[in-house]
């Protein structure tokens, strides 16, 4: 039953974009018809997938179609349901958000296409998660990947949008190509595209490692693992904000889903795989947060934090895999629960942050942090909701990021005390790396919040800033509530997590025990401490608000004796991050123009510094250039003459004829 409901809601979402294509009624009608269908679909989807998750029900269905490679096999189990929840939840809130953010009146040129692909994206995502064989999976995967491309290139009149979209397209095609390779290799090994237990035990090791390597490339490109993340910052920064939210909150998680699903089907994964995943995760989360600190573009900065969070999620998965290979129930449970819960959590706070950034962009028309400032007074709702998201992403209690990271920490601590052998260094380094990343994330978000929302406005863009429309605010509120809810009451999701982890762990978690997570995590204490923290902050606030209420004289802050301080003398996003960027300059290679100041009365000089993506700039671009030069040698073949093309056909036919004549028995 839940499976049917999920299918119905996926179909509704697919249709929602089509409903907007013909010009039904005026712009007012078009604004609502498709959106309402999509909202109904999303609500139904959330209900159905949560139901399936609480019941831990499993269902499957096979629809025959005339495509090679097998029927359309669909199925719903707790692991699928777990990933379906953010698809429908974030998708639905994104639909609500875009009513105000991307309305037909202000975007007459592209809003129809954008709505069509927005619906298609969600339908593709649902199909991908429901797929139970390689062909159906790739089908959903490509629908998702291509509609995401069209969504990223929504504002294709802008040069940087086109460039970001092309980089994304290349990346996603390379990823899909390696997934094709992976499924072909699986097919060669097992004889079908069907999913079940992929018993590769009798195969040669190179096949096993080939499948793993292709999966890491294919799924890692989508997830945005550190060396493969190069498409991600540009795409997230240049897409419309609710698309960025969907990309960051849901689409990149499909890489994690694919990896988790594949690993769940391989009964005896080598121990080294877990260690490798831990290592890749560590690189991603440290690299992601470091590059985030150096950014000036609000959405680009948030995009690098996605790389960081994917790293954390991957570390959880790596830990769980080590647990499975070594038969350690506690590592498996804690690692996978942390991984999955962080998938949800990142799918809550990152869309919240992108929605907030979109609200700022909507009213000020700039993503440049150094042009903003003092927005907290002008948009208090947005500022408050953004603060909740920022605290959650930093992993601070009593918010949800803390809970999922705590699971992984506890897993590492348990591993530290008990694991020995080859995977020990990976496990031992996990906790310190998570701690470093947490601290850097706090620094980064202090910078973001301080520069964007506090202080005084740095440019006239802020002067007319105001709160976004109600639809946009009401899309952010549920996310913030969920962030606090999971943070304060993690016991609410513990059972759901257990169902999903049990599906993933398979036989290594038998016999089935209820309350597996409570056995290792003091969930009750988390609730108690969370409530105590909120209460004490509330008390402090009440106490100090009386003090603040007494004197409200406004004046400039201490200004070092400058005669005429201006808002531009505030800390900028680069000056705030300078110490950290300098310290890690061996990773970041910051670029900048340092003008010389000469004479007693120097003229105006400009200083500029920025941090570029090194993978894109130093590896991908040169590689693409080299490839282009190589392909340029084929250019003479393209004559533009009909005769030449016919000659090519003729030559090939001749070769085939000769081959046929010689090769015939």
């Amino acid at each position: 039953m839940p499976l049917i409901l999920v299918e119905v809601s996926a179909a509704l979402l697919l249709l929602s974009g089509v409903a907007d294509l013909p010009r039904l009624g005026g712009p007012r009608a078009t604004k609502w018809v498709g959106s309402l269908i999509a909202l109904i679909g999303s609500a139904l989807g959330v209900a159905a997938s949560v139901w399936a998750l609480t019941q831990a029900s499993e269902a499957s269905q096979s629809i025959s179609w005339n495509l090679p490679g097998g029927d359309l096999d669909l199925g719903l189990d707790p692991l699928s349901a777990f990933f379906l929840v953010p698809i429908f939840f974030v998708g639905g809130l994104g639909t609500l958000y875009q009513i105000g953010y991307w309305d037909p009146a202000s975007h007459p040129r592209n809003f129809r296409a954008h709505r069509f692909f927005w619906g298609l994206l969600q339908g593709g995502l649902a199909l991908l998660v429901l797929a139970r064989n390689g062909v159906a999976f790739l089908f959903g995967w490509e629908v998702m990947a291509l509609s995401a491309f069209f969504l990223i290139s929504t504002e294709d009149q802008r040069e940087e949008v086109r460039e970001a979209a092309w980089v994304y397209l290349v990346a996603t095609h390379v990823g899909t190509l390696s997934l094709f390779g992976m499924f072909s290799l699986l097919w060669a090994s097992t004889g079908s595209f069907g999913w079940g237990t992929l018993d590769l035990g009798g195969q040669e090791t190179w096949r096993l490692w080939g499948v793993f390597a292709l999966a890491i490339i294919g799924f890692g490109l989508k997830a945005g693992l550190m060396p493969l993340h190069f498409w991600l910052p540009g795409a997230h920064a240049n897409a419309p904000s609710h698309v960025s939210a969907m990309l960051s909150g849901v689409v990149i998680k499909m890489g994690i889903y694919g990896l988790a699903r594949l690993l769940s089907m391989i009964p005896q994964p080598p121990l080294s795989w877990g260690g490798l995943l831990l290592l890749l995760g560590a690189v991603s989360c440290v690299g992601g947060v470091l590059f985030a600190i150096g950014q000036h573009d609000l959405k680009r900065l948030l995009a690098y934090h996605s790389v960081e969070n994917i790293g954390i999620i991957l570390m959880g998965l790596g830990l769980a895999l080590i647990g499975r290979s070594t038969g350690r129930r506690d590592l498996l449970m804690l690692g996978m629960a942390g991984c999955l819960l962080h998938v949800w959590n990142h799918g809550l706070f990152k869309p919240l942050l992108f929605f907030g950034a979109g609200a700022v962009l909507h009213t000020t028309q700039t993503r440049e942090m150094d042009a903003l400032g003092g927005l907290a007074g002008r948009m208090p709702w947005t500022a408050g909701l953004f603060l909740v998201g920022a605290l959650s992403i930093c992993g601070l209690p009593p918010f949800n990021g803390f809970v999922s990271e705590l699971f992984i920490y506890l897993g590492f601590f348990r591993g530290l005390l008990t694991v020995d052998g080859a995977s020990y260094p990976a496990v031992a380094l996990g906790a310190p790396i998570l701690a470093i990343v947490g601290a850097l994330a706090v620094a980064c978000f202090v910078k973001v919040y301080g520069v964007v929302f506090l202080g005084s406005p740095r440019s006239s863009a802020v002067a007319s800033a105001q709160e976004p429309p109600l639809t946009m605010r009401s899309a952010m509120a549920p996310l913030a509530v969920a962030c606090v809810g999971i943070g304060v009451a993690p016991f609410l999701v513990a059972r759901l997590l257990e169902h999903a982890v049990r599906t993933w762990g398979g036989e290594s978690l038998s016999p089935v025990r209820a309350a597996d997570i409570e056995a290792w995590v003091p969930l009750g204490w988390l609730t108690f401490l969370g409530l105590a923290l909120i209460l004490s902050i509330g008390v402090l606030f009440l106490r100090f608000s009386r003090v603040w209420g007494r004197s409200t004289a406004r004046s400039v802050t201490w200004d070092c004796g400058y005669a005429a301080p201006t808002p531009r003398m505030q800390y900028t996003s680069s000056s705030f991050a300078k110490i950290l960027v300098d310290q890690f300059s061996w990773v970041l290679h910051p670029k900048g123009e340092q003008p010389q100041i000469r004479g007693f009365f120097p003229t105006t000089v400009k200083r500029h510094s920025w941090v570029e993506d090194r993978v894109l700039g130093e590896i991908i671009h040169p590689l693409a250039k080299a490839l282009e030069r190589l392909c340029a040698r084929l250019r003479p073949l393209q004559q533009g003459k009909l005769q030449a093309y016919l000659l090519y056909v003729f030559i090939i036919l001749g070769i085939l004829l000769i081959w046929g004549a010689l090769g015939a028995p």
Partner: protein, 212 residues
């Protein structure tokens, strides 16, 4: 079947003539004569002539021998062109190429795995040779009309090959192929007219500007 073979030799000679002449009218006439000859061949291949074979023959003669050549002539009159100027390679060279292609076809036909009855006759070599001639025409000529004749020769080659399969191939397929050909030429006639009006030339080299 001496009659069939002698007809096929005429077909081969017509191929060489098409490659050797510079007048487009002559090319079209030669192709129409070839088409009409092909139309009679099904009657020779079959032992007993049914109504379907007769119909097919009549339709082929009508279309290939009369209707299509007339359409091409009309298109040419509209475009006011008489002769092919400067083909990519000289007329003599293309004729030699055609002769070589005919020789290669005879050799290749001997190597191909064919049914016993077919190996001896000239059907397969002339089919291959006619197709090759069509290819040579397509690749070396510049005017759109000459290319259409190349396409017709290519189709003639396939038709000759189909003589082997006449019993196996349903009537409807044969008629369908003829209809396709007719529609194709009809469309090309229209395109030629438009091309002429747009570029005031039928030189396909102008199409190079469409290159990316």
């Amino acid at each position: 079947m001496p009659v069939l073979d002698s007809l096929l030799i005429v077909v081969l000679l017509l191929n060489l003539f098409v490659l050797g002449t510079s007048r487009i009218y002559a090319v079209i006439r030669a192709v129409s004569v070839q088409g009409a000859l092909l139309g009679f061949m099904p009657l020779l291949v079959h032992e007993k002539i049914g109504i379907q074979t007769a119909l097919l023959s009549a339709a082929t003669v009508l279309l290939k021998g009369i209707v299509i050549p007339r359409m091409l002539m009309h298109a040419m009159r509209e475009a006011r062109i008489k002769r092919e100027v400067e083909p990519f390679i000289g007329l003599l060279t293309s004729m030699v190429l055609g002769a070589v292609a005919a020789g290669v076809s005879v050799l290749a036909a001997r190597e191909l795995p064919l049914a016993a009855g077919h190996a001896a006759s000239l059907v397969v070599p002339s089919a291959l040779a006619t197709s090759f001639t069509g290819f040579i025409l397509l690749v070396t000529r510049l005017k759109a009309i000459s290319q259409v004749t190349g396409f017709l020769l290519l189709e003639n080659g396939i038709f000759i090959f189909a003589l082997l399969l006449l019993e196996a191939m349903p009537f409807i397929v044969e008629i369908g192929v003829l209809l396709d050909l007719f529609v194709g030429i009809f469309l090309i006639g229209i395109i030629v007219e438009h091309m002429n009006r747009e570029f005031s030339s039928l030189d396909t080299r102008h199409l190079t500007t469409l290159k990316e």
